[in-house]
């Protein structure tokens, strides 16, 4: 019995070491052990109750809210399809004052995305955000979207970007996402920008 337990521990240890080594060797889709991929910025209600939700961008513990709830609660300002289209067609988008960020993975982004959108995959955000940081911080409004439906990656990416220093007031969440955009037969482009 003791021998069986010992061997079980050896198997688990060998599997874990192999997994860590293989993960470290990955050029893409490497899982960062300490990164809270599913963190959601907490919804903070002002004392007294009825004020608008707010959240800090201090980079502190942002996992207080429970992402397991159906219908993830988040502090970001949602925008409708009509509002997104208005921004897309307005002069601010072309001037770079408004930036659309696609939170899906590169494969989905290459297949189709809103014209002019920047791709920052939530699960490969560290390098992708670094590359786009200066551009993003220069914008007045950043609209983040993902696949739509039950997709939550735009919320997770919004939290990540907020923790990296993008002010909460600049971030908008297009919850309808790519699904709503395509359902309205709006124009898309393929490939990388």
């Amino acid at each position: 019995m003791k021998r069986v337990v010992l061997r079980i521990m050896v198997i688990l240890a060998v599997g874990t070491v192999a997994g860590l080594g293989f993960n470290q060797a990955r050029a893409k889709n490497r899982i960062s052990l300490g990164r809270p991929y599913f963190a959601v910025a907490p919804v903070v209600v002002a004392p007294g109750g009825d004020g608008p939700p707010s959240a800090s961008n201090s980079g502190g513990d942002s996992t207080d809210s429970n992402p397991a709830d159906i219908g993830l609660k988040h502090p970001f300002t949602p925008v409708t399809l009509d509002e997104v289209v208005e921004m897309y067609l307005g002069p601010g988008y072309e001037a770079g004052e408004i930036i659309f960020v696609d939170a899906r993975d590169e494969e989905h982004f290459q297949k189709e995305h809103i014209i002019g959108a920047v791709n920052i995959d939530n699960y490969n955000a560290d390098t992708m955000y670094d590359d786009a940081e200066a551009f993003l911080l220069s914008a007045n409004t950043i609209v983040i979207y993902c696949g739509g439906g039950d997709c939550e990656d735009s919320i997770f990416l919004a939290t990540y970007m907020n923790n990296r220093g993008v002010p909460m007031g600049k971030i908008r969440l297009f919850e309808g996402g790519m699904k709503a955009w395509l359902n309205d037969n709006l124009e898309v482009e393929q490939g990388l920008p």
């Binding site: 293989f22 052990l33 809270p36 599913f38």
Partner: protein, 186 residues
């Protein structure tokens, strides 16, 4: 028939006396096990399935990470629990799969396989019940990606497969057969 002669006598024949005790016949399960077929099937099927599913998970680690989260079996904070599980679990499956196929450390490998199946199968069932309660869809019409490495799959089929794998893992744990195994010790 045994015959016994009395010592010193001149060939006097006495009544036969049985000296042997009855040998208990092996139970049906033991006899089936001695054919080596159940253990061999259990090792190859469980080991093969674990290898196949592990490589499917390694192909898209982010999808597997999302699926691990969907079960809510592990706390999301601190994130190391869920992240390390997504990194290590496919490789533990690979090690178990290889050990079962070659027949080395069979019992420990089968116990780990059994443990994983017993942890995830009720979780798959609970998730399916959640979908059933929310959606008004027939239970056996439910399909989702259970994170098992197969993509979206019919849940009744998956539960049936897992039940079979649990049974086969039990066979691998309990069987004494070591035919075609690298390690011959029980």
């Amino acid at each position: 028939m045994a015959e016994r002669q009395s010592g010193g006598g001149a060939g006097v024949t006495v009544a036969p006396v049985s000296t042997s005790t009855p040998i208990p016949s092996p139970s049906l399960l033991r006899r089936v096990d001695q054919t080596h077929v159940p253990m061999l099937a259990a090792r190859l099927i469980v080991g093969g399935v674990f290898l196949w599913l592990a490589f499917s998970k390694l192909a898209d680690p982010i999808l597997f990470l999302k699926n691990v989260r969907e079960y809510h079996l592990l706390p999301e904070s601190p994130p190391i629990f869920i992240n390390l599980t997504a990194v290590a679990l496919p490789w533990v499956e690979i090690v178990c799969g290889v050990l079962l196929v070659i027949g080395l450390w069979i019992r420990p490998a089968a116990l780990i396989a059994l443990g994983m199946l017993l942890a995830f199968t009720p979780a798959i069932f609970a998730r399916a019940v959640g979908v059933y309660n929310a959606g008004g869809i027939a239970f056996c019409a439910i399909e989702f990606d259970c994170g098992c490495g197969t993509g979206a799959i019919n849940i009744c089929k998956k539960l049936g497969e897992n039940s079979s794998l649990i049974l086969l893992s039990l066979v691998a744990v309990l069987s004494q057969s070591r035919k075609f195994a690298v390690d011959k010790s029980p």
